[in-house]
């Protein structure tokens, strides 16, 4: 029996159904959670999906943290619940203070929509437990503000504590230290710019995303 993965929907989210579809394909159960909800309906994990939550007004993710559901997501994360932020969801989690750093505009002035080859840097995370360190995964990116940045002290902590879980092989956006995905100190909150939910079927050009989302499902099964 598989656990239930809640997928938060903000006004402007646009990847929630891809998340639900890939979770279902992988044998899990997905459930949409409206941003105005004040409870998580007992789900076993939460995905904050990609899109443009609240129109990305002010800054990407800046308004989303005030949605009622985010109070519950923060509480869930504080209790050790698994939370994943993908793309705009990663931006939301940094703005909400659940993950360190910020996502600035890409180097090179371009919106990027292309496959990216990622190197798994740590298998000790809720998204990479099915992978081995050094594995390469092809997962698409789709962003303008995906250039991860943080202060030097935070970067040292991320490295020393093995919290960089994914790096780009060929850095497409200028992210510091080629960072594509990080986790929090408790390792139960993960954010990444690439979209694993768009790479769970060979018809889409890659099924490598199933390694990541499958790892999440292993955790809640």
């Amino acid at each position: 029996m598989s656990g239930v993965v809640g997928v938060v929907v903000f006004p402007g989210s646009n990847c929630e159904m891809d998340c639900i579809e890939s979770i279902t394909q992988l044998g899990g159960e997905g459930r949409l959670l409206w941003h105005g909800d004040e409870d998580l309906c007992g789900v076993d994990a939460v995905i904050v999906p990609g899109g443009f939550a609240h129109g990305d007004y002010l800054r990407p993710g800046a308004i989303a943290r005030f949605s009622p559901v985010m109070t519950e997501v923060s509480r869930f994360a504080a209790d050790g619940g698994p939370v994943v932020g993908i793309c705009n969801g990663f931006q939301v989690l940094t703005e909400a203070g659940l993950l360190p750093g910020a996502l600035q505009k890409n180097d090179g002035l371009k919106f990027l929509c292309q496959p990216a080859i990622l190197r798994v840097e740590s298998s000790d995370s809720l998204l990479t437990s099915r992978a081995a360190t050094g594995d390469r995964l092809s997962i698409p990116i789709n962003h303008f503000e995906g250039n991860y940045t943080c202060d030097e002290e935070t970067l040292m902590a991320l490295r020393d504590e093995d919290r960089v879980i994914l790096r780009y092989i060929d850095n497409p956006n200028g992210s510091v230290d080629n960072i594509a995905g990080v986790c929090n100190e408790g390792r139960n909150v993960v954010g990444l710019m690439p979209h694993p939910e768009r790479a769970c079927n060979e018809l889409l050009g890659s099924s490598d995303g199933s390694v990541l989302l499958g790892s999440l499902l292993d955790l809640v099964t």
Binding site: L58, R59, A62, T94, E95, G101, A102, Q104, K105, N106, D107, G108, L109, N147, T149, C150, D151, G174
Partner: protein, 87 residues
């Protein structure tokens, strides 16, 4: 007292500013020479009520750092002017 507040949000040094870079590259095409350091930020305006300017400043600065800017990538200059002076 009522104050008009301007929050001038700027990208911190070293943070990518593709809009500023693009504008700067276009300027010489128009024949303007010697223009450099172009950066694009935003200005947020609001009014605030407080007992005095000190309280209004503290509240505005707090709003700026906790919400209007992301301190990882942005700085802001907060400027207040009393609306009561206009009366």
């Amino acid at each position: 007292m009522k104050f008009t507040v301007l929050v001038d949000v700027r990208l911190r040094s070293g943070i990518a500013d593709p809009a500023g870079a693009t504008i700067e590259r276009a300027i010489p095409v128009l024949g303007f020479a010697g223009v450099s350091g172009v950066s694009v930020g935003k200005i947020i305006r609001f009014t605030i009520e407080a007992v005095d300017k000190e309280e209004a400043t503290i509240k505005s600065e707090e709003l700026s750092t906790s919400f209007l800017t992301n301190p990882v990538i942005e700085d802001a200059v907060v400027t207040l002017s009393s609306m009561d002076d206009d009366l």
